[in-house]
Every structure is written in structure tokens, then in C-alpha cells.
Symmetry: C2
Subunit: 208 residues, 2 copies
Amino acid sequence: MTLEPSADDPISTAARLREVATELFAERGYAGTSLAEIASRLGIRTPSLYNHTRSKDALFLDLFTEATAAWSDISRRALDGEGTSAERLERHMQASLGFATERPHIVGLCRVAVTQVGNELADDVEELIERQRIDYRQRLVSFFDEARANGEVVDRPTELLVSAWWVFLDGLLTQQIFAPPALRAEIEKHHGALWSLFWRGIAAEPSP
Amino acid sequence: MTLEPSADDPISTAARLREVATELFAERGYAGTSLAEIASRLGIRTPSLYNHTRSKDALFLDLFTEATAAWSDISRRALDGEGTSAERLERHMQASLGFATERPHIVGLCRVAVTQVGNELADDVEELIERQRIDYRQRLVSFFDEARANGEVVDRPTELLVSAWWVFLDGLLTQQIFAPPALRAEIEKHHGALWSLFWRGIAAEPSP
DNA sequence: CCTACCGATCGGTAGG
DNA sequence: CCTACCGATCGGTAGG
């Protein structure tokens, strides 16, 4: 009684294409990934890929668009919601790191997009990155403006607090993605403690 | 009265090859950089490159080896030397960021090496990265052990302090390299302030 | 440092 | 989804 796109293929080729291509782009970069390799992993011939995508560029852009949407969704939900600023920001951190842990190839795809901007990838990618960056920045500005107004964080310029958070998150994600598995597990255990040191750096002085 | 390798070429082709190749590898990745493009920028034909290198792999490994040596040299000198732990660590940060600012392509080359490990690049690269990582880690452990013994930092496990620093530095470098120039300049102005927030997070409680 | 050239692979098309 | 094929480009070699 299940819906099947075809008799002997419960997972559609289109879906598997997305999975396989995301993984390869993430691990080998854009230029390092060939359509032949993607097709081979799907058990089909290279030209058959063109039933699912217009070109290699279009495939990458499509996957990247989906990736940023998923990322943005997770991150927004965690930062919004109830609680103190510390609770909300820690939840946001845990969500971002959880996302990176569970779906490392999606994060890897984003990294590839960022590092290869202006070279072989289309302007569309650069535009999408910039839009996401601006959107995230605005959400952070709102968050820290509110936290300052509540006296929850140190009284420094919002811009600075945004930068501090961004640096911290970028560092965590970098280690999460690039560190060798052995080191990664150790760092993962430290997330809570690293958070507390970060927050200690920006938290308001205890009122006397 | 100057020493010239050839009459009309004051900067040797070998030296220009290193410059050009570093820049291209950093900007386009390993697979995205062709020997033809390198040769073209040098004004010579592709086969002529083989007078200066054995293969594309060997060229990359050679440049990467030089890059890590330069990096390690700068970083070691800044962290050693005199002063309080805070002074030494801030000096180390400034040196690392200065290096990244002045020689962005060298840092980009390292990033490419790290992100493409285990794929098209040789095991030699992975080995070199791992050796550098271990070496840097040991220097940080010594540093934070001493800082803790002096009561200069909060009394938490050295491993945690090392992680916190590493995350902070990785985040700064990531932003330095990947942020769009407009944002980069703003962040650069914040380095000192970001440092003070970081240090505030790990500094020892003021004695009562 | 060059010309001439190699087999392999690239993204992509024609036509079914 | 396939076979058959395209021109372009890849890293690299022979020989001078």
C-alpha cells in the first residue's frame, strides 16, 4: 500500500542524486567532483543525470539553496522562543552544532560554496551567501540589542557582541567539521563548558 | 653589481611560480587550479613547469610545507617571549591575524590542504597537518599549564582552556579569510575588543 | 625554455 | 533511462 515512483526503486533516483551529490561536493569541492562519479554512485550513466538537472552549476546551486534554507530554519527557531538571553543563545549554539554533527555534508557544502565564491561558481551563489549573512546579522543585532537593554550582557557596542558571537560560532563549526574524529569527540564533550567560558566573557557584571 | 639568475629576469621564474601557484591554489582549490593557468600567468608553456617541479602534487606539497613552516615560526615566536600570560597570548593572536592579513594566500593554501585531505591530495599533506596540530597543541598545553599555575586564568582543565583558545582563533581566522572585504575591515578594528571579551571569559577571578 | 603530442577525463548533446 | 559521441581541457612525456 505504499506509494512507489517505480516498482523496484523505493528511494527515487532524484532523492539519491541529492544525497550523493551533496556528499561529494562537500568532500571534494566543486571542481573535484565529476558528474561521472555522481552517476556511477547512482548506478546510472552520466547523460541520465540531465533528466534531473540542467547542468552541474544548477545542481550545486539547487543543493546549496536547500542547504542554507535548512540551516537558517534550524538556527532561527532555536534563537527565537522563550527564556533568558543566555538560554536562548545556548540553545541556538546547540542547535547549530547539532545540525553540523547530524548533517555534516550540508555544512561542508556551505563551506565549499563560501570558499569558492568568485571563482568557478556562479554569482547566484555569492548573492545567496550575502543574503543569508545579512539576514543572520540582523537577527543577531536584534538579539543583542534586547540582551543589552535587559542588562543581561556587558555594556559594549552591539556590533562588538555580534562579532564576538560570530567568531565563537565560526570557531566551533570549523573545529566540528575539520578536526580529526578523535579530537572532534573530545571537543563535542566540551561544548557546554566552552559555552560557559564564552558567556562569562560577555555576561553583565553581577550587580553589587 | 647584482647577482642575476638570468639577464632579463630579475625575479626568477622559480620564485614567481611559487607566488602564482600559491595564489591560485588558495583561491580555486587544488582540483580547480590547472597547470596551464599557472604557466600562462608566468608567460611560459605548461611543459616548462616541469623544470621546476616533478608534478602538481609535489608542487602543492612543497608550497604547503613552506606555508606551515612560516606560520609555525611566526606563531611560536609570538607566544614565547616575555610578559604576562595575557600579554603573550594577545601578542600571539595579533601575530597570527597579522600573518593572515599580510599573506592571505598562504593561509588560504592551508585551508585548502585541510579541507581536501583524504581526497585528491597525498597522505603527506595529512601527515604534515597532523604533525603541526600536535605541535601547536603541545605548545598551548604548556602555556595554559603555566598560566593556571600562576593563577592568571580560571581554574578549569587545561584541555578546556586550550579548546577555548583554539575555537576563538579559528573563528577569527575564518572571518579574516572568508568575510567580504567590507565586513573584514570592521572586524579587524574589533580585534582588540574581541580579545578583551575572550580574555574576560577565561581570566582568573580578581582575588578578594 | 620550446613544439608536438599522449591517453584520460571533463561537462554536455543528439537521438532514441 | 540508454548508446554513441562531441570539443575542450586535464596532467604529463618525448625529444630537442
